[in-house]
């Protein structure tokens, strides 16, 4: 009996080490592939220049972020239609999604940045839950940076578009993520629905 338990535990240890290894390799490959996008998201979030060509960025195909992305998009779509209450619901769902996220799958090097993203993203979600729509939008600008960085960090299996509106964020510009190719601006809603352009396709 003891022998069986011992060999099972050794086998799982070897397996888990092996899995970790492949994940690291995957991550390395994908950072090479998305050098361009990675640069922008790490250093300067708002100024990915658009030279009229769309950058296609591939990320790690990771379904683990799907629930987070879905609730983010729920907030986005609520703001597009100027719906404060639905935005708040999306933010509540986002908090739940973050607590459901399995952090044990993160590598040590991912863990630190993940925790920083988690801290600010949660704050933004909490403000979106309790604030009037203008304030929701301010926090949504910052939340979009967090979610974008989360995707560069751990990946997604969704196809997403990174859009940019130069008039948002007090004229300094801000990005958001969308599941559709058309521009539908969450920072201004009806007032300026078409403001913005697509900068990048993810997957």
């Amino acid at each position: 009996m003891k022998k069986i338990i011992l060999s099972i535990s050794i086998a799982t240890m070897i397996l888990s080490i092996a899995c970790n290894q492949t994940r690291k390799n995957e991550k390395m490959k994908s950072t090479e592939a998305s050098e361009d996008t990675h640069d922008h998201s790490e250093h300067d979030h708002n100024t990915t220049k658009t030279d009229d060509h769309i950058i296609e960025a591939s990320t790690i195909k990771n379904p683990a972020t799907s629930e987070i992305i879905d609730s983010y998009l729920q907030i986005k779509n609520a703001l597009v239609t100027d719906n404060k209450d639905d935005a708040a619901k999306g933010a509540t769902a986002l908090l739940a999604a973050f607590s459901n996220f399995d952090m044990t799958q993160l590598t040590d090097s991912q863990h630190k940045e993940y925790m920083e993203i988690l801290e600010t993203a949660k704050e933004h979600a909490e403000h979106i839950i309790k604030s009037p729509i203008e304030h929701q939008r301010e926090h949504f600008e910052a939340l979009s940076i967090d979610i974008n960085d989360l995707i560069s960090l751990v990946g997604t299996d969704r196809t997403l578009y990174q859009d940019f509106c130069p008039m948002a964020n007090g004229g300094k510009g801000a990005i958001w993520l969308s599941e559709i190719k058309d521009i539908e601006n969450p920072f201004f809603g009806k007032k300026m629905l078409k403001c913005g352009n697509m900068q990048k396709q993810i997957n």
């Binding site: 300067d44 920083e116 993203i117 600010t120 704050e123 933004h124 964020n169 007090g170």
Partner: protein, 155 residues
Amino acid sequence: MNKVFKRIGLLLFISVVGIQFIPTTLNESDNVLSTDFIKTYSPPKNIKNLLINSCYDCHSNNTKYPWYNKIQPVSWFIESHIESAKTELNFSEFGNYSTRKKKSKLKSILSQIKNDKMPLPSYILMHKESIFSKSNKLDIEKWLTELEQSTISYE
């Protein structure tokens, strides 16, 4: 009827006096942390004064209390404000924030000032000197924007 009023009055009086004896914790500390915002970014004197006079009472580990903080329930009111203000933003510990959080807080600070949301209205009522003039506002916004764009960049 009269008796009832008297009783209620007496009860109120006793409780108002009574709560004066409940100890309060003061938000005061003698040393300025190395993570302090002003210590870290050494703003010019005028900006420094604006921040200290208008924000530090609530958003730091050091409150300059008004005399009426000695009276309950005023001090509870002030204490709860300071507590929630510090969870949002603590200038004394700003240096400990992650780069991401620093950026996010600077963005919030700028928009709160721009939209006249801070300092809080209830504070302005008692601290007329904390209101930013138009030129004060422009000065501090300019300085904060530069800080946002230059000093605090992602490493």
